[in-house]
Symmetry: C2
Subunit: 129 residues, 2 copies
Protein backbone atom coordinates (compact mmCIF):
# COMPACT_ATOMS: atom_id res chain seq x y z
CA UNK A 1 0.00 0.00 0.00
CA UNK A 2 1.38 3.38 -0.92
CA UNK A 3 0.06 6.92 -0.99
CA UNK A 4 2.02 9.67 -2.67
CA UNK A 5 1.22 13.36 -2.42
CA UNK A 6 0.94 13.47 -6.22
CA UNK A 7 -1.65 10.69 -6.17
CA UNK A 8 -3.77 12.56 -3.64
CA UNK A 9 -3.57 15.76 -5.69
CA UNK A 10 -4.56 13.88 -8.85
CA UNK A 11 -7.51 12.24 -7.14
CA UNK A 12 -8.71 15.55 -5.73
CA UNK A 13 -8.44 17.04 -9.23
CA UNK A 14 -10.51 14.15 -10.63
CA UNK A 15 -13.06 14.79 -7.90
CA UNK A 16 -13.27 18.46 -8.85
CA UNK A 17 -13.61 17.52 -12.53
CA UNK A 18 -16.73 15.53 -11.67
CA UNK A 19 -18.45 18.52 -10.07
CA UNK A 20 -17.28 20.85 -12.84
CA UNK A 21 -18.75 18.56 -15.49
CA UNK A 22 -21.98 18.39 -13.48
CA UNK A 23 -22.21 22.19 -13.16
CA UNK A 24 -21.45 22.65 -16.85
CA UNK A 25 -23.99 19.95 -17.82
CA UNK A 26 -21.20 18.75 -20.09
CA UNK A 27 -21.89 15.17 -21.12
CA UNK A 28 -18.53 14.76 -22.86
CA UNK A 29 -16.66 15.93 -19.78
CA UNK A 30 -18.81 13.72 -17.54
CA UNK A 31 -18.07 10.76 -19.79
CA UNK A 32 -14.34 11.44 -19.45
CA UNK A 33 -14.64 11.54 -15.64
CA UNK A 34 -16.24 8.10 -15.35
CA UNK A 35 -14.96 4.63 -15.93
CA UNK A 36 -17.16 2.91 -18.49
CA UNK A 37 -18.30 -0.53 -17.52
CA UNK A 38 -20.91 -2.64 -15.82
CA UNK A 39 -19.31 -2.19 -12.37
CA UNK A 40 -19.84 1.56 -12.03
CA UNK A 41 -22.49 2.63 -9.53
CA UNK A 42 -24.12 6.02 -9.06
CA UNK A 43 -26.55 7.00 -6.32
CA UNK A 44 -27.98 10.49 -6.66
CA UNK A 45 -29.48 11.96 -3.45
CA UNK A 46 -32.70 10.13 -2.62
CA UNK A 47 -32.43 7.90 -5.68
CA UNK A 48 -31.92 4.16 -5.80
CA UNK A 49 -28.54 2.86 -6.92
CA UNK A 50 -27.92 2.99 -10.65
CA UNK A 51 -25.59 0.32 -12.02
CA UNK A 52 -23.52 0.27 -15.18
CA UNK A 53 -22.28 3.12 -17.32
CA UNK A 54 -25.25 2.95 -19.69
CA UNK A 55 -27.75 3.55 -16.90
CA UNK A 56 -25.53 6.05 -15.11
CA UNK A 57 -24.87 8.08 -18.23
CA UNK A 58 -28.58 8.13 -19.03
CA UNK A 59 -29.25 9.62 -15.59
CA UNK A 60 -26.81 12.45 -16.23
CA UNK A 61 -28.24 13.03 -19.68
CA UNK A 62 -31.69 13.40 -18.08
CA UNK A 63 -30.41 15.62 -15.26
CA UNK A 64 -28.61 17.81 -17.78
CA UNK A 65 -31.93 18.70 -19.43
CA UNK A 66 -32.90 20.73 -16.35
CA UNK A 67 -31.28 23.73 -14.73
CA UNK A 68 -27.75 22.72 -13.83
CA UNK A 69 -27.02 22.63 -10.10
CA UNK A 70 -24.18 24.57 -8.57
CA UNK A 71 -22.06 22.86 -5.96
CA UNK A 72 -20.09 24.18 -3.03
CA UNK A 73 -17.86 21.23 -2.21
CA UNK A 74 -16.11 21.26 1.14
CA UNK A 75 -14.25 18.97 3.50
CA UNK A 76 -12.69 16.78 0.82
CA UNK A 77 -10.73 13.87 2.29
CA UNK A 78 -8.84 11.66 -0.13
CA UNK A 79 -7.38 8.23 0.52
CA UNK A 80 -5.26 6.40 -2.05
CA UNK A 81 -4.56 2.66 -1.82
CA UNK A 82 -2.50 1.46 -4.77
CA UNK A 83 -4.69 1.90 -7.86
CA UNK A 84 -7.87 2.72 -5.94
CA UNK A 85 -8.85 5.93 -4.19
CA UNK A 86 -11.85 7.56 -2.61
CA UNK A 87 -12.86 11.05 -1.65
CA UNK A 88 -15.49 11.90 0.93
CA UNK A 89 -16.87 15.41 0.89
CA UNK A 90 -19.84 17.62 1.63
CA UNK A 91 -21.86 19.08 -1.21
CA UNK A 92 -23.99 22.15 -0.71
CA UNK A 93 -26.24 21.94 -3.76
CA UNK A 94 -27.59 25.30 -4.88
CA UNK A 95 -30.67 24.13 -6.78
CA UNK A 96 -34.30 23.47 -6.00
CA UNK A 97 -34.19 25.27 -2.67
CA UNK A 98 -30.77 23.95 -1.78
CA UNK A 99 -29.72 20.75 -0.12
CA UNK A 100 -26.98 19.50 2.15
CA UNK A 101 -25.47 16.31 0.79
CA UNK A 102 -22.74 13.98 2.04
CA UNK A 103 -20.89 12.16 -0.72
CA UNK A 104 -18.27 9.53 -1.37
CA UNK A 105 -16.60 9.13 -4.74
CA UNK A 106 -14.46 6.09 -5.55
CA UNK A 107 -11.86 6.18 -8.31
CA UNK A 108 -9.63 3.62 -10.03
CA UNK A 109 -6.37 4.39 -11.78
CA UNK A 110 -6.48 3.69 -15.52
CA UNK A 111 -3.01 4.34 -16.88
CA UNK A 112 -2.31 7.93 -15.89
CA UNK A 113 -5.94 8.88 -15.24
CA UNK A 114 -8.22 8.37 -12.25
CA UNK A 115 -11.71 7.31 -13.33
CA UNK A 116 -14.83 7.53 -11.20
CA UNK A 117 -16.40 4.13 -10.47
CA UNK A 118 -18.75 4.96 -7.57
CA UNK A 119 -20.55 8.22 -6.83
CA UNK A 120 -22.78 7.99 -3.80
CA UNK A 121 -24.56 11.09 -2.51
CA UNK A 122 -27.04 11.14 0.36
CA UNK A 123 -29.18 13.92 1.75
CA UNK A 124 -28.25 15.24 5.17
CA UNK A 125 -31.45 15.86 7.11
CA UNK A 126 -31.91 18.38 9.90
CA UNK A 127 -32.43 15.61 12.41
CA UNK A 128 -30.57 12.31 12.39
CA UNK A 129 -32.94 9.48 11.53
CA UNK B 1 -4.82 -4.56 -10.57
CA UNK B 2 -6.06 -8.00 -9.70
CA UNK B 3 -9.33 -9.46 -8.47
CA UNK B 4 -9.49 -13.04 -7.23
CA UNK B 5 -12.70 -14.92 -6.44
CA UNK B 6 -11.38 -15.48 -2.91
CA UNK B 7 -10.89 -11.75 -2.42
CA UNK B 8 -14.45 -11.03 -3.47
CA UNK B 9 -15.79 -13.72 -1.13
CA UNK B 10 -13.73 -12.33 1.75
CA UNK B 11 -14.94 -8.79 1.12
CA UNK B 12 -18.56 -9.91 0.96
CA UNK B 13 -18.04 -11.76 4.26
CA UNK B 14 -16.59 -8.59 5.82
CA UNK B 15 -19.61 -6.69 4.54
CA UNK B 16 -21.98 -9.21 6.15
CA UNK B 17 -20.01 -9.00 9.40
CA UNK B 18 -20.72 -5.27 9.53
CA UNK B 19 -24.47 -5.77 9.35
CA UNK B 20 -24.36 -8.69 11.79
CA UNK B 21 -22.47 -6.60 14.34
CA UNK B 22 -25.01 -3.81 13.82
CA UNK B 23 -28.00 -6.13 14.31
CA UNK B 24 -26.39 -7.68 17.39
CA UNK B 25 -25.51 -4.22 18.79
CA UNK B 26 -22.13 -5.81 19.48
CA UNK B 27 -19.54 -3.09 20.00
CA UNK B 28 -16.61 -5.53 20.13
CA UNK B 29 -17.66 -7.09 16.83
CA UNK B 30 -18.21 -3.65 15.30
CA UNK B 31 -14.77 -2.59 16.46
CA UNK B 32 -13.28 -5.66 14.77
CA UNK B 33 -15.06 -4.81 11.51
CA UNK B 34 -13.64 -1.29 11.26
CA UNK B 35 -10.19 0.05 10.62
CA UNK B 36 -9.18 2.30 13.47
CA UNK B 37 -7.75 5.63 12.44
CA UNK B 38 -8.44 9.22 11.58
CA UNK B 39 -9.24 8.40 7.94
CA UNK B 40 -12.36 6.32 8.53
CA UNK B 41 -15.65 7.95 7.56
CA UNK B 42 -19.19 6.92 8.44
CA UNK B 43 -22.39 8.49 7.15
CA UNK B 44 -25.57 7.09 8.70
CA UNK B 45 -28.78 7.76 6.71
CA UNK B 46 -29.65 11.44 6.94
CA UNK B 47 -26.65 12.19 9.15
CA UNK B 48 -23.64 14.34 8.35
CA UNK B 49 -20.32 12.59 7.76
CA UNK B 50 -18.55 11.38 10.87
CA UNK B 51 -14.77 11.27 10.63
CA UNK B 52 -12.25 9.24 12.61
CA UNK B 53 -12.73 6.02 14.55
CA UNK B 54 -13.33 7.82 17.85
CA UNK B 55 -16.32 9.72 16.47
CA UNK B 56 -17.56 6.78 14.43
CA UNK B 57 -17.37 4.35 17.34
CA UNK B 58 -19.20 6.83 19.57
CA UNK B 59 -22.04 6.94 17.04
CA UNK B 60 -22.42 3.16 17.14
CA UNK B 61 -22.24 3.16 20.93
CA UNK B 62 -25.12 5.67 20.96
CA UNK B 63 -27.12 3.77 18.32
CA UNK B 64 -26.65 0.54 20.24
CA UNK B 65 -28.49 2.00 23.24
CA UNK B 66 -31.74 1.89 21.24
CA UNK B 67 -33.63 -0.98 19.69
CA UNK B 68 -31.26 -2.65 17.26
CA UNK B 69 -32.29 -2.43 13.61
CA UNK B 70 -32.68 -5.50 11.45
CA UNK B 71 -31.30 -5.36 7.93
CA UNK B 72 -32.30 -7.12 4.77
CA UNK B 73 -29.26 -6.57 2.58
CA UNK B 74 -29.64 -7.24 -1.13
CA UNK B 75 -27.89 -6.58 -4.40
CA UNK B 76 -24.36 -6.71 -3.05
CA UNK B 77 -21.77 -5.85 -5.70
CA UNK B 78 -18.12 -6.17 -4.71
CA UNK B 79 -15.11 -4.76 -6.51
CA UNK B 80 -11.55 -5.51 -5.42
CA UNK B 81 -8.58 -3.44 -6.60
CA UNK B 82 -5.35 -4.62 -5.02
CA UNK B 83 -5.66 -3.95 -1.28
CA UNK B 84 -8.83 -1.89 -1.55
CA UNK B 85 -12.39 -3.02 -2.13
CA UNK B 86 -15.90 -1.69 -2.02
CA UNK B 87 -19.37 -3.15 -1.83
CA UNK B 88 -22.51 -1.38 -2.92
CA UNK B 89 -25.79 -2.78 -1.67
CA UNK B 90 -29.37 -2.02 -0.72
CA UNK B 91 -30.43 -2.08 2.92
CA UNK B 92 -34.04 -2.54 3.91
CA UNK B 93 -33.91 -1.35 7.51
CA UNK B 94 -36.63 -2.85 9.67
CA UNK B 95 -36.77 -0.23 12.41
CA UNK B 96 -38.70 2.96 13.06
CA UNK B 97 -41.29 2.23 10.39
CA UNK B 98 -38.74 0.88 7.95
CA UNK B 99 -36.53 2.60 5.43
CA UNK B 100 -34.98 1.90 2.06
CA UNK B 101 -31.30 2.74 2.08
CA UNK B 102 -28.58 2.60 -0.58
CA UNK B 103 -25.11 1.99 0.80
CA UNK B 104 -21.48 1.79 -0.17
CA UNK B 105 -18.88 0.23 2.10
CA UNK B 106 -15.16 0.61 1.39
CA UNK B 107 -12.61 -1.81 2.82
CA UNK B 108 -8.82 -1.99 2.97
CA UNK B 109 -6.81 -5.17 3.36
CA UNK B 110 -4.84 -5.30 6.61
CA UNK B 111 -2.77 -8.48 6.55
CA UNK B 112 -5.34 -11.22 6.03
CA UNK B 113 -8.35 -9.14 7.10
CA UNK B 114 -10.49 -6.63 5.28
CA UNK B 115 -11.29 -3.61 7.47
CA UNK B 116 -14.10 -1.14 6.87
CA UNK B 117 -12.87 2.41 6.22
CA UNK B 118 -15.98 4.06 4.73
CA UNK B 119 -19.64 3.30 5.40
CA UNK B 120 -21.98 5.59 3.58
CA UNK B 121 -25.73 5.01 3.71
CA UNK B 122 -28.34 7.26 2.14
CA UNK B 123 -32.12 7.19 2.30
CA UNK B 124 -33.90 6.27 -0.91
CA UNK B 125 -36.95 8.49 -1.24
CA UNK B 126 -40.12 7.63 -3.11
CA UNK B 127 -39.47 10.33 -5.65
CA UNK B 128 -36.03 11.25 -6.99
CA UNK B 129 -35.06 14.72 -5.77
Amino acid sequence: MQERADDVAEVLAANRAFYEAFEAADMDAMSDVWDHGDAVVCTHPGWPRLEGWGTVSASFFALFQGDPPQFIVTGERATVVDDAAWVTCDETVLAGGGAAVAAVNVFVRRGTAWRLVVHHAGLVLDQPS
